[in-house]
C-alpha cells in the first residue's frame, strides 16, 4: 500500500481555563488512506469536533495544539505557514459543519459563496466558477440550480443549505473531506438523504472522509474505519468490521448496547445506557478515564494503561480482552 493520506500521532489539545488546564484531547493517533471513510464516534464533549478543527487548523487562539506528527499527503501540518495552510484548506481538504443554518454568510448570495471557494484556489474566471457551482449544485440534488445562485441563504431551508455546504466543500475537488455531524441539526427524514448523498459523492469522487458522529447506526452503514473517542482519548480504533464484530473496550460495548439493532433488539426491551459520571479533564489525568463508569474498574486502572493491538484493531485497557468474555452471551 502507498503512504496514508493523513497520519496523526500523539495529538494533544490543551485549553487554559480559570482553574487550570483542560486537557481536552490527550495523545490520539490515527491514519487514513485515500478513498477511506473514518468515523469518529463518541459522546458530546469527548473532543471529536475539536480534533476535526485541529486538523483544519481552525482552532481558536486560546487552544494549544501539540502533535508528534500530523501529515497530510506527506506534508507536516503543524509546521506549515499560515499561507500554505490556507492553500490546503478548502482546496485539498475541506470541511462541512454541523450548523447549516448559520454556516453560510447571510450577506452574500449562494452563488457568490460557492464561487468564492473555487476562485480562492484556482486561477479560473468567474464564468468557469459559475459553471462549476451549477454543476455541483445539481450533483448535490438541488433543482433549478442556476436560479438558486442568486438567492440568499435565508431563502433556503436547512436541508438545502446543508446541500449547498456540501457543494461548497466539493468545489475544488478535495482529497479529504471532514464532516462534523453534518446531519444533527436537520430533520430526521432529511438526515438519511444527506448522509447518503455524502457517502455516494465520496465514493464517486474517490475522496477520503472523516465523519464525526455520535450515531453508531450511521457508522455501521458507512465506515471503513472506526475510532471510538471518550473524554479526549481514542479508546478503541480499527476496521469497522472488527469493531462491530469484536468490540473490545467496555465503553465501545456500552455504546453499542445503546443502539437498537433490527432483529437483535427485542421490541420493548430496554436500550442500554452507560451510568456514571464523566470525569473532569482539568489538571493531570492519570490512568483510564473510563474507570469512573466502568463495571470492571480496579485499583490498577489508576496506573498507566497498556495499548493492546490485534492487527489494525487497537484498544486501551488493563484487561487483555477488555473483559469481553464477561459479557459473551453463552451460546
Amino acid at each position: 500500500m502507498t503512504e496514508p493520506l493523513l497520519t496523526v500521532r500523539n495529538l494533544k489539545l490543551d485549553i487554559p481555563v480559570a482553574s487550570g488546564t483542560l486537557h481536552a484531547v490527550r495523545g490520539i493517533d490515527f491514519e487514513l488512506n485515500r478513498g477511506e471513510t473514518l468515523c469518529i464516534v463518541g459522546e458530546s464533549g469527548s473532543g471529536k469536533s475539536l480534533t476535526s478543527l485541529a486538523l483544519m487548523g481552525l482552532l481558536g487562539k486560546r487552544i494549544l495544539r501539540k502533535a508528534d506528527q500530523m501529515t497530510f499527503d506527506g506534508t507536516e501540518l503543524t509546521t506549515m505557514s499560515a499561507k500554505e495552510l490556507r492553500k490546503l484548506r478548502g482546496g485539498r481538504m475541506s470541511m462541512i459543519f454541523q450548523e447549516p443554518m448559520t454556516s453560510l454568510n447571510p450577506a452574500y448570495t449562494i452563488g457568490d459563496q460557492l464561487m468564492e471557494a473555487l476562485l480562492l484556489h484556482q486561477p479560473v474566471g468567474r464564468a468557469a466558477a459559475r459553471a462549476r457551482a451549477i454543476e455541483l449544485l445539481e450533483k448535490v440534488g438541488i433543482t433549478a440550480a442556476e436560479s438558486r445562485l442568486g438567492q440568499y441563504p435565508h431563502q433556503l431551508s436547512g436541508g438545502l443549505r446543508q446541500r449547498v455546504m456540501i457543494a461548497m466543500a466539493l468545489m475544488c475537488g478535495p482529497e479529504l473531506i471532514i464532516a462534523d455531524e453534518p446531519t444533527t441539526a436537520l430533520d430526521v427524514t432529511i438526515q438519511a438523504q444527506i448522509l447518503r448523498l455524502l457517502v455516494d459523492l465520496t465514493r464517486e469522487m474517490n475522496m477520503a472522509m472523516i465523519l464525526i458522529t455520535h450515531d453508531l447506526g450511521v457508522v455501521a452503514r458507512v465506515a471503513d474505519k472506526v475510532a471510538v473517542m471518550y473524554a479526549g482519548e481514542l479508546v478503541e480504533t480499527g476496521p469497522a468490521a472488527d469493531i462491530f464484530a469484536t468490540p473490545c473496550h467496555p465503553y465501545t460495548r456500552g455504546l453499542l448496547r445503546c443502539i437498537p439493532l433490527p432483529g437483535k433488539t427485542e421490541r420493548g426491551s430496554e436500550l442500554g445506557t452507560i451510568p456514571g459520571i464523566v470525569p473532569s479533564l482539568v489538571g493531570e489525568v492519570e490512568g483510564c478515564v473510563f474507570r469512573t463508569r466502568c463495571d470492571y474498574a480496579e485499583a490498577a486502572c489508576r496506573e498507566a494503561i497498556p495499548h493492546r493491538t490485534n492487527g489494525a484493531h487497537r484498544f486501551r485497557c488493563i484487561h487483555p480482552d477488555g473483559m469481553r468474555h464477561a459479557e459473551e452471551v453463552p451460546a
Binding site: R89, N105, A107, H154, M168
Partner: protein
C-alpha cells in the same frame, strides 16, 4: 442590486416607513407649536413701547393671536408645509431664509462630526474586536468610557485653551476655513464616537465568532478577507442605523458646540432665539431638527434594507 431594492416587499416597506415618518413629523410639529404657544403671545412686543392696552388688543386681533390654538396651529402647519415659517420677531426677516442661511454651517459640522466619529470608531472597534484585551482594545474602551462622561462644553473649552491659546495651532472660533472646523468636529464627533465604537466592537465580536466566519476560514480565505469581506460587511449593518440616529442627535446637540466655537449655525441661532423669545424661529428650528432625525433614520432604514438581504425580502 438596486433592482432588488425596488421589489414589491421593499416598496411596501418604504411606503410604510414613510407613513410612519410623516405621522411622527406631524406629532412633533404639534408639540413644538404648543410648547411655544404656552409662552404667551407677542402682541405687546409687536405693539411697541408707547402702545396702550387697546392697541395691543388690536394687534392681537390683527395677527390672530386671540384665536384657539388648534386654528393657529393648522394655519402655521399649512404655511410651514409650503416652507413659510413666518417672520422672525427679532430680525423681522422670514424665518425660512434666516435658517437657510445658517444651516450650511450646521450641516457641514454634522457631516464632519459623524465622519470623524465613524473614521475613528469603526477602525478602533474592529481592531478591539480582533484582539480583545489587547492594548488597542483597552485604549478604545478607555476612549469610549471617557467620551460618554465628557461634558462637551468642557471638552471644547479645554481644546481651545490647549490648541488655540497654548499651542496656537488652531483658530478658536469662526467658520472661515477648514481649520476652524477641526475642534468643533472633534468635540461633536467625540460625542457620537463611544456608542458607534461599542456597537462596532460588539457586532464584530459577535460576527467573528459566528459559524459563517469559520466557513470562510475553512474555505481558505485570507484573514483580511475573512475580517472585512465576511466580518465587517455584516457587523456594519447595525452601525449604519446607529450612525444615522447619532447624526440626528448631533445636529440637535450642535447648540452647545456652536455656542462654544461661535459658529453661526442653526444651533447657535436656536440658542439665541430662545433667549430673544423669538418664537417663530424656535418653533421652526425644533421642527427642522426633528425632521433631520426623521429623514436620517428613514434613510438608514432604506440603506439597511439594501445592505441586509434578510430585510429586503421579509
Amino acid at each position: 442590486m438596486f433592482l432588488i431594492l425596488w421589489s414589491t416587499p421593499v416598496l411596501n416597506f418604504i411606503l410604510k416607513r414613510l407613513m410612519l415618518a410623516a405621522i411622527v413629523a406631524l406629532t412633533v410639529s404639534f408639540i413644538s407649536f404648543s410648547l411655544m404657544f404656552l409662552s404667551g403671545d407677542p402682541a405687546a412686543a409687536l405693539a411697541g413701547e408707547t402702545a396702550s392696552g387697546e392697541d395691543i388688543e388690536a394687534i392681537r386681533a390683527l395677527y390672530g393671536f386671540d384665536r384657539p390654538m388648534l386654528v393657529q396651529y393648522w394655519e402655521w402647519l399649512g404655511s410651514a408645509l409650503s416652507g413659510d415659517f413666518g417672520q422672525s420677531y427679532y430680525f423681522k426677516l422670514p424665518v425660512a431664509s434666516l435658517i437657510a442661511d445658517r444651516l450650511g454651517v450646521t450641516m457641514t459640522l454634522g457631516v464632519c462630526g459623524i465622519s470623524f466619529a465613524l473614521l475613528t470608531a469603526v477602525p478602533l472597534g474592529v481592531a478591539a474586536a480582533i484582539r480583545p484585551n489587547s492594548f488597542i482594545d483597552r485604549l478604545s474602551l478607555f476612549l469610549s468610557v471617557a467620551g460618554q462622561a465628557m461634558p462637551s462644553f468642557w471638552f471644547g473649552l479645554i481644546l481651545i485653551v490647549v490648541f488655540s491659546i497654548k499651542l496656537g495651532l488652531l483658530p478658536p472660533s469662526g467658520a472661515n476655513s477648514w481649520r476652524h472646523f477641526i475642534m468643533p468636529t472633534i468635540v461633536l464627533g467625540y460625542y457620537a464616537m463611544p456608542a458607534i465604537m461599542r456597537l462596532t466592537r460588539a457586532g464584530m465580536l459577535d460576527v467573528l465568532s459566528s459559524d459563517y466566519i469559520r466557513t470562510a476560514r475553512a474555505k481558505g480565505a485570507s484573514e483580511t478577507r475573512v475580517l472585512f469581506k465576511h466580518g465587517l460587511r455584516n457587523a456594519i449593518i447595525p452601525v449604519v442605523s446607529l450612525a444615522a440616529v447619532q447624526m440626528g442627535f448631533m445636529l440637535g446637540g450642535s447648540i452647545v458646540v456652536e455656542s462654544i466655537f461661535a459658529l453661526h449655525g442653526a444651533g447657535f441661532l436656536a440658542w439665541e432665539s430662545i433667549g430673544r423669545n423669538d418664537l417663530p424661529t424656535v418653533q421652526a428650528l425644533i421642527l427642522i431638527f426633528a425632521m433631520f432625525y426623521i429623514v436620517f433614520t428613514f434613510l438608514a432604514d432604506v440603506l439597511n434594507a439594501w445592505l441586509d438581504p434578510r430585510m429586503r425580502s421579509s
